[in-house]
């Protein structure tokens, strides 16, 4: 014993042999000092309070309020409950609702089928370390950094029917933002412009992390570039793929800013998020009705969240 260095008893890590005999309680006390315990308690409590206060309570309040016709004025005890009327109104007599659902789904499909693969494609190109790849990387990532008000403005310059660049250059007179058959696609291009940069960056990071020896091995085996990518690199990037999948779903559900900048989500640009905002934000708001829309959106999101969590948890167990 005398040749061991002097250390504080409660900081000492016992030798493995003694843990089996002395049991769990003493061991835990030794592992965590008082400061450690305070820090850990705070670290659990503070985020818990934040999440409860800023996520769960508002979510619960939204669900509650969706059963009322509250206009945001007056004390809470005067709120009148109207049962499921808001929901039946949303479905039966609110014309923008069905287009909004369709547009959200369209948005998801477009991001998933076009923008995300394209971002992936760009990432693969940039990963080849072409000359000036830093320049391309910056150029493609730029839209992600720009504020959305600015993006809306930039595209307005291109899309304006009378004064926009596209119509001026091609001599056309397409009403890009006003024609409800066209504007959802026009806005989706603008939105995709941003999304591509985001996805590209995520994949680029993933590609940098792929072990080069895997590619070398594939090359030695005589696999072609595309075969190497799809059979070796892509499966290895599974974590990134899941993140990209989740990011794409989230982006399509919360798609809002651009349509709001363009025309407040009306006339062909209806999205659930825009409808919620139209109803809840503003003077003399329809808090109850807007909450019903928000609850519907919450339910839709829950479907995706459940799928995601189920996947992740199953993986953890394995």
């Amino acid at each position: 014993m005398s040749d061991l260095p002097l250390i504080q008893a409660d900081r000492a890590v016992p030798p493995p042999a003694s843990t089996t005999s002395t049991g769990g309680r003493r061991r835990r006390l030794r592992l965590l000092s008082r400061t450690d315990r305070v820090v850990i308690t705070l670290m659990v409590l503070v985020p818990l309070l934040l999440v409860t206060g800023f996520v769960w309570l508002p979510a619960a309040a939204t669900v509650l309020l969706s059963g009322t016709n509250w206009d945001g004025i007056g004390p809470l005890n005067e709120i009148e409950f109207v049962g499921a009327r808001n929901y039946s109104d949303v479905v039966n007599i609110y014309p923008p609702f069905v287009p909004a659902i369709q547009h959200n789904l369209l948005w998801l499909a477009a991001l998933f089928v076009v923008a995300t693969p394209f971002g992936m494609f760009l990432a693969v190109l940039l990963d080849k370390e072409l000359r000036g790849s830093r320049f391309y990387q910056t150029a493609l990532y730029l839209p992600v950094v720009l504020s959305l008000a600015l993006i809306g403005f930039v595209w307005q310059l291109l899309y304006s029917r009378d004064q926009g660049l596209i119509n001026a250059v091609f001599g056309s007179s397409i009403d890009w933002y006003g024609d409800s058959n066209v504007n959802i696609w026009a806005v989706m291009v603008a939105s995709g412009w941003r999304h591509v940069g985001y996805i590209m960056l995520l994949y680029l990071a993933g590609l940098k992390g792929v072990d080069p020896s895997l590619r070398e091995a594939a090359a030695v085996d005589g696999a072609s570039e595309s075969r190497t990518f799809f059979r070796v690199v892509f499966p290895v990037m599974r974590p990134i793929n899941i993140i990209v999948l989740v990011v794409t779903v989230i982006e399509s559900l919360r798609a809002f800013d651009l349509v709001w900048v363009v025309n407040k989500g009306r006339n062909g640009l209806e999205l659930i998020s825009a409808l919620v905002t139209q109803n809840v934000v503003g003077e003399a708001s329809r808090i109850g009705f807007g909450s019903a829309l928000a609850t519907i959106m919450l339910v839709v999101s829950l479907v995706f969240i459940t799928i995601y969590l189920a996947t992740v948890m199953r993986e953890n167990r394995e």
């Binding site: 004025i73 014309p95 409800s180 974590p239 993140i243 025309n263 139209q278």
Partner: protein, 442 residues
Amino acid sequence: MSRPQSQAEYLARLVPPSVAGINRRSLLAGAAGTGALLGTGLLAGCGDDSGSGGSSKDVSLGSNQSDPKPKDVLVKVTDGFKTSSGVQVAINTVDHNTFQENINNYLQGKPDDVFTWFAGYRMRFFAQKGLASDISDVWGKLSGYSDAFKKASTGDDGKQYFVPATYYPWAVFYRKSVWQQHGYQVPTTLDQFTALGEQMKKDGLTPIAFADKDGWPAMGTFDILNLRINGYQFHVDLMAGKEAWTSDKVKKVFDTWAGLLPLHQTDSLGRTWQEAAQSLQQKKSGMYLLGLFVGQQFSNDEQDDLDFFTFPEIDPAIGAKALDAPIDGYMMARKPKNEDSARKLLEYFGGKAAADINLKNDPAVLVANSGADVGGYTALQKKAAELVGSATEIAQFLDRDTRPDFASTVMIPALQQFIKNPKDIDGLTSSIENQKKSIFTD
């Protein structure tokens, strides 16, 4: 894992620990960062009602006049108040749209003693909810207001809640030079108006400039047709939810509009009113139904070329004497911190001195007080003032005369739907009526 060297690396680490074995320390660092972000956001959100210090004589004014010109005018008016009364006014300016969107929370929280607002249902709504103070006594001391203005300042209980300051009429604007060149005459009936439009088409002009990207300009067209076809009282009742949108009277408004739509500029739903006004300014369009503020799109030396006429008569029994002329002004919060000074400030706002300062500094509006020295008006302003002076009834505009939730969530999409497809009037009006019944419940 080492510290991320680039943003790319950092982003790659946003992978949840379940899928990528992430190091505990970097996870905690991320959580701390998020906490810090939330913290600053909270602080920033709390810092907005601290401008009310100073002596007890001070009065605070919440203002939506965020554009440089009107903001400057308001400072000059309050300076005049300070000189005459010795009371300091603390102005809290908020961006125009933000102010309107937050008005609910603003009035229920700790509002400024006096705040800028609009006449019409929007004013009566907050008066009825008890969020504004009765200022009938101030009205007792005011002079120079026509009955129309007093009526527009009165709540449902017959008391006054609003002091009018400025207003702008809606009319059909045109360029004198274009009309002289083609020899057009001002139409006084709908038939003449339609014939003029057809003639303009032949002359290669777009007869009526039109824009509705922002949703509200088309309300002006609906309003004026409704006022000409069914009269002022029907407009008020319809907006108050007392008349059915499925009635033949409303259908006739849409029918008439559908007849006029071919004369309107096409693709209006992607165009802002500024762009439509520019087509008038560039002599591509023959006329434009809009508020007096259309002049903002014309340069100074073009102002003299701008003229207008009131929308022609449709039904001789109704005439053409009613119009939209929204009024901007001031109201007092429910419990002002300094009530005496607030009432004095409102009295000053409604007086001749404030009107004179407004008139001298802002050429885009008309002043409500007839006692003001109108010698400084441009020819256009004089004519506009005469038009409003001769009006039998003054409406405030669709979105100021009805419930705001109805105007923005039902009427804007409905009018845009109509512009897209003017044929299905029955379906449109019954959809509006169904939504109206659900909104006008109390």
